[in-house]
Amino acid sequence: MSTASKPTFLTALSEHYIRWKRERSQRLQERLYYASQRELVWHAFKKHRLALVALIILTVLYTVSIGADFFAPFSPLNRFQNFNDAPPTRIHLITREGKLSWPFVYQTVRVRNTETFKYEYRENTTHRHIIRLLVKTEPYKLLKVIPIQHKFFGLSDRHVPLLLFGSDRLGRDVFSRILFAGRISLFIGFGGVMVTFILGSILGGISGYYGGLVDEIIQRIIEVLISVPNIPIWIALSAALPRDWGTIKIYFAITLILAVRGWTGLARVVRGRIISLREEEFALAAKAAGAGDWRIIFTHLLPAFISYLIVHITLAIPGMILGETALSFLGLGIKPPAVSWGTLLQDAQDITVLANYPWLLIPSLFVVLTILMFNFVGDGLRDAADPYASR
Amino acid sequence: MSQDQLTPMASEPILEIRDLKTHFMLDTGTVRAVDGIDLTISRGKTLGVIGESGCGKSVTAHSILRLIPSPPGQIVNGQILLYRQGEVIDITRLQPKEATIRQIRGADIGMIFQEPMTSFGPLHTIGNQIGETILTHQQAESAQSAREQVIELLRQVGIPNPEQRVDAYPHEFSGGMRQRAMIAMAISCSPMLLIADEPTTSLDVTIEAQILDLLVGLQEQTGMAIMLISHNLAVVSEMADDIAVMYLGKRVELGSADAIFDNPLHPYTQGLWRSIPRVDGPLDKLIPIPGAVPSPRDRPTGCVFASRCNRFIEGTCDEPRPVPTFEVEPDHFVACYLYD
């Protein structure tokens, strides 16, 4: 094809493209006939617009949180002297001369109002600071591994504050802190769900497969855990955590605490399915073929409703995130200097603080956004996992 | 058509359906469930309506009481004339929720449904639900006298111990008992017309016979007309004075029960007859009608039965126009070009 003259090359290319497209759609059709469960689910899920958008937003949230070193302009503990409780920096597009410009900010200065004696923040409009992508900073290591010396965006002068969401009591950038806090808040869901998943499938599996006294005991415990209010148990358990534990230990402890009740719902589902599947032929066939009990549960019964479990888990994550946020908000979860969305919101607990510095409530928008998106994705998956369901 | 035009042949009509079209506007297209039906029900007589499921029998019945869920259902054409104490009401003109249609429902026209198991609300007693009809239509009644009437009605439809059963809940009744209670409810305000929409389909055969006997007995007592809808030829042949045969939203044949049985004209009717065992016929000659009812979404443009007809005439039956109706013998109508 390289020797062909230009027009023939194009014709060939377009023909090739058309053929490729036709084959692809044929393949797609064929694939649908022979599709595995996973492919069917993905196909149905893609049709669910809202869920797809939600999945994209979640991906963005997770990416910027993991890469917070790079995406956040400042470190979460970086203080701007004399910029306590500063409002969000205004971003301008139009210069004083009325010309459209790349987004820029003015240097903010703090002045004391001579009548109220309160600090006020004004813009010093003499000099423009352009917001640049990939600005150079001191070298650091992304994810503690990759050496890098750029930030995603920022000002070339590192000492001019660029506070997208304002600053807190100690002059720290709320936006940067939100991104770093996401590392804990967004991932606590996964940790908790992992534990939930393991506990739920094992206990539910045992309960459903063996029945009898084991089943009876597990069912009683589940009943208690379901009928008992969450928060008091969480509070009590967190209270019992030793004070001298570090952030990592606390983090894992909180994960476990959140999972204490979470596994019950899953265990019930697993148990119900196991009981109905247990009698079905393939389990009997496997048993007849001499497979061990555990082998039957894990290689034959669990995969049979794995998509069901995934849906359940997706819908369980937001509950975990909310739990961590609530505990940290109450001062019983993650403790400073570690940051989670809950600890950030602790600053907003006082109504007078809130009334004066409403931007401290911005972390809550991230909580709500994440929860909503997980719900949409979960709904989408639920519809997709059950392509034959009418509703 | 008014009362002074009565001839000895045609008895007095109480309900007349003229060119009724009930369509369902779905996202996927319009379903013409009933597509131009003419029927007449005479006082004290039984009209049987037969056809395979999906042919529009139930939709016709529901249209009479304006019970078609809307949207998506809609009566797009035709008249349903109810002759009531000297006045004529066109039911298609009524709003589905206005007072007039509510007076007609239950009082002038009673209806029995196919599913006795789900026809009663689960949370109220049978007596409450039957008495409700009486209290709705006869304002003067007290709850006490309504209750006594209900007990009497339950006795009339053959429910043992009606004094106790009146306070029972639906789940305490068997299917046959519920259908009896259903009939009691439908006749509680002495309607002129009882629409029985597949009244025995979900019951077993012995109960079926009892229910049909009950309907015949009640008709003799009260003189009400019955519109009996069924896909079961035996059921219809037992009770009907006149029979209408429906196929895919069209009335393909209409005549007296005797005429339809002895001299079926339409190939579909003939096919139906061949597909059931008859007492007087050879047992080995059961021939099913080939094919299945096409979806109402892609109905044939000419004769609706063309695709399954063994006497299909090319160039005539597939003409994209409605088949005209021919009166082959007095009061025996058929929509088929064979009789042109």
Partner: protein, 332 residues
């Protein structure tokens, strides 16, 4: 019916037993013995512990004996004398601390439950009957947001809004002048003026999901045969909808009390802390902060037991209004 109630009550006993064990484990959880923490805390605050007092507590709760014995002593003290230990934060018996706040907690919880229903039932019915109307969409959106918005955030946002609009800070159930005043009509009105916001916030948690459930069930029910039957009788539309499908759709809702009640109790604690209500929530929290474990464990036990009992009552209620369950023909 009586048999059913008795069976349910017998079934609840093992639940209460497990709850008491869990609560007691919570008391034992923190490293170090209760008395050590007790003395440590007292010394930190400048008090000196009386030797005889320490000994009395040791003896009453068998703190030097095995955990099982401690549990038995704790439970028998509770069941026989209504004593659950001593709170060092409040310097009072735990029972006394709890009883001061419990009535208000229960009042707030029950009113919130009632409000949840008063909001959810009409909105759910409206949404289902006017499916795809603007009102239905609004209800759906509010429902989704309500699901995603944790109630302490809603509390913060609403307090902020109220404060920004009126300058009135909703903190606590009573204004300062009535806080310690005896009950009068004025105090009651003051309470009503303050209580609506926390109630609304706490109720929001369950309302959203209740609306969704009611809407879905009612959409199912309103197309069932028995509704058509009732319509064919000539009943007016609104009457038949209320009498038949709505009644049927509300019944399963009663069984949701089993999980709305824990939700509300949880919400009550966190909202009370945020808004400074005089209920058990803030007590539990400060006890947890101070590792006042007898108080923590006892509050957990009381709240959990009451929730379970509340669920039991809702079960019995359901059996009472639903003939299918009352006669034991259908099990849900």
């Amino acid at each position: 019916m009586t048999a059913l109630i008795i069976r349910r009550i017998i079934l609840i006993i093992p639940l209460l037993f497990i709850i008491s064990i869990i609560s007691f484990i919570i008391i034992l959880l923190p490293p170090g013995s209760y008395v050590e923490t007790y003395v440590e805390n007292l010394e930190r605050t400048g008090f000196l512990m009386d030797e005889s007092q320490i000994k009395a507590i040791y003896k009453q709760y068998g703190l030097d004996r095995p955990a099982v014995v401690q549990y038995i002593l704790w439970m028998s003290n509770f069941l026989l004398k209504g004593e659950m230990g001593r709170s060092f934060i409040y310097q009072k018996p735990v029972t006394e601390v709890i009883m001061e706040r419990l009535p208000m907690s229960m009042a707030v919880t029950l009113i919130s439950l009632a409000v949840t229903w008063l909001l959810a039932v009409p909105i759910g019915i409206y949404s289902a009957l006017r499916q795809y109307s603007i009102g239905d969409y609004v209800a759906t959106i509010i429902g989704f947001v309500g699901l995603a918005l944790p109630n302490f955030l809603l509390a913060l946002a609403l307090t902020y809004l109220v404060f920004a609009k009126t300058g009135h800070a909703v903190t606590g159930l009573f204004s300062i002048e009535y806080k310690d005043a005896p009950w009068t009509v004025d105090k009651l009105f003051d309470l009503l003026g303050n209580i609506w916001l926390p109630i609304l916030v706490i109720a929001s948690a369950g309302t959203a999901s209740l609306i969704r459930i009611l809407r879905a069930t009612l959409l199912d029910e309103k197309n069932k045969q028995y509704v058509t039957t009732a319509r064919a009788k000539g009943l007016p539309e609104h009457k038949l909808i209320l009498k038949y499908p709505v009644r049927v759709a509300i019944n399963p809702l009663i069984s949701t009390i089993g999980w709305t009640l824990p939700l509300i109790v949880s919400g009550e604690i966190i909202v009370s802390q945020t808004l400074g209500l005089e209920t058990l929530g803030p007590v539990l929290l400060s006890a947890a902060m101070g590792e006042d474990m007898f108080l923590v464990g006892s509050i957990v036990m009381i709240l959990s037991s009451l929730t379970v009992i509340g669920t039991l009552i809702s079960d019995i209620l359901l059996a009472w209004i639903d003939p299918r369950i009352r006669f034991d023909k259908v099990s849900i």
